[in-house]
Amino acid sequence: MSVKTIAGKEVNVSEEGYLEDMSQWNEEIANEIATEIGIELTDKHFEVINYLREKTAAKEALTIRKVGKSGIVDIKGLYKLFPKGPLKFSSKIAGIPKPTSCI
């Protein structure tokens, strides 16, 4: 665990850069992490991000299948929003731990 300053705020991050405490997250942090990955966030991105945060807060395991059935975006759309890392990148931007799911 280390402390990193993202968007002017000190946050605890894991070795791979995932926020360790989701309550330290805000939208500016999301934007900065996204820029680092190379994604420009739109409202649709935030809909997905908020969904992920809600489910994580409720301690539900996340899979891309679940996101695909959330009614926000289908799986193809999810890949378009977060290319090459539909669950990994979206989780990182959402300030939640690295996904542990295989699906």
Partner: protein, 176 residues
């Protein structure tokens, strides 16, 4: 006294992430097909270019009629356990209907873990940019046609064409 200069060697470790995986699924039992699908989907989710080649009995996994009703073998499977962990008697596994019942139970348990049925799993893989192929020789052997196969199957190709898809020095071929 003599002074020796010691050459310090610093070895830089460069990470070379996998760029492409080519999976071959040659067996048609529930666990064999799912092994390929989970690995393929996992690769797609990691941003790795993914090709899956279904051949021989593996074709069961992409044949419309059979793909959502795959079975697991209840005979000759020493790892098979009854609920509670008691070994599954092979004699029992041979009784009519047992394999069907056990297989449907397995599928239910997989669904509980959010593992999708085969048709949906194939869609998930192609949605992420993965590509599914069928082996020409096996398709001919089983007298199948393109329309018998899942719509997610891009093409029926020869093994030579499959190898052509496996180019690149960070490519792995995985046989399941």
């Amino acid at each position: 006294m003599e002074t020796k200069e010691i050459e310090t060697k610093t070895v830089k470790k460069e990470k070379k992430p996998l760029e492409k995986v080519c999976l071959i699924c040659a067996k048609g039992s529930l666990e064999d097909v799912y092994a390929s699908l989970v690995m393929a989907n996992g690769a797609v989710m990691e941003g790795i270019e993914t090709n899956v080649f279904f051949t021989f009995f593996g074709l069961e996994g992409i044949t419309k009629k059979s793909m959502n009703h795959l079975h697991t073998a209840t005979t000759g499977n020493p790892a098979m356990k009854m609920p509670g962990g008691i070994p599954f008697p092979t004699m029992l596994g041979g009784l009519p209907g047992v394999e069907t019942a056990v297989s449907s139970m397995m599928r239910k348990q997989m669904e509980a873990l959010d593992m999708p049925p085969v048709d949906e799993f194939l869609e998930m893989i192609t949605a992420g940019g993965g590509t599914i192929y069928a082996c020409k020789l096996a398709v001919d052997m089983f007298k199948l046609k393109k329309e018998d196969l899942s719509d997610e199957v891009k093409d029926i190709i020869t093994i030579g064409e499959f190898y052509e898809l496996c180019d690149g020095d960070r490519t792995q071929i995985i046989f399941t």
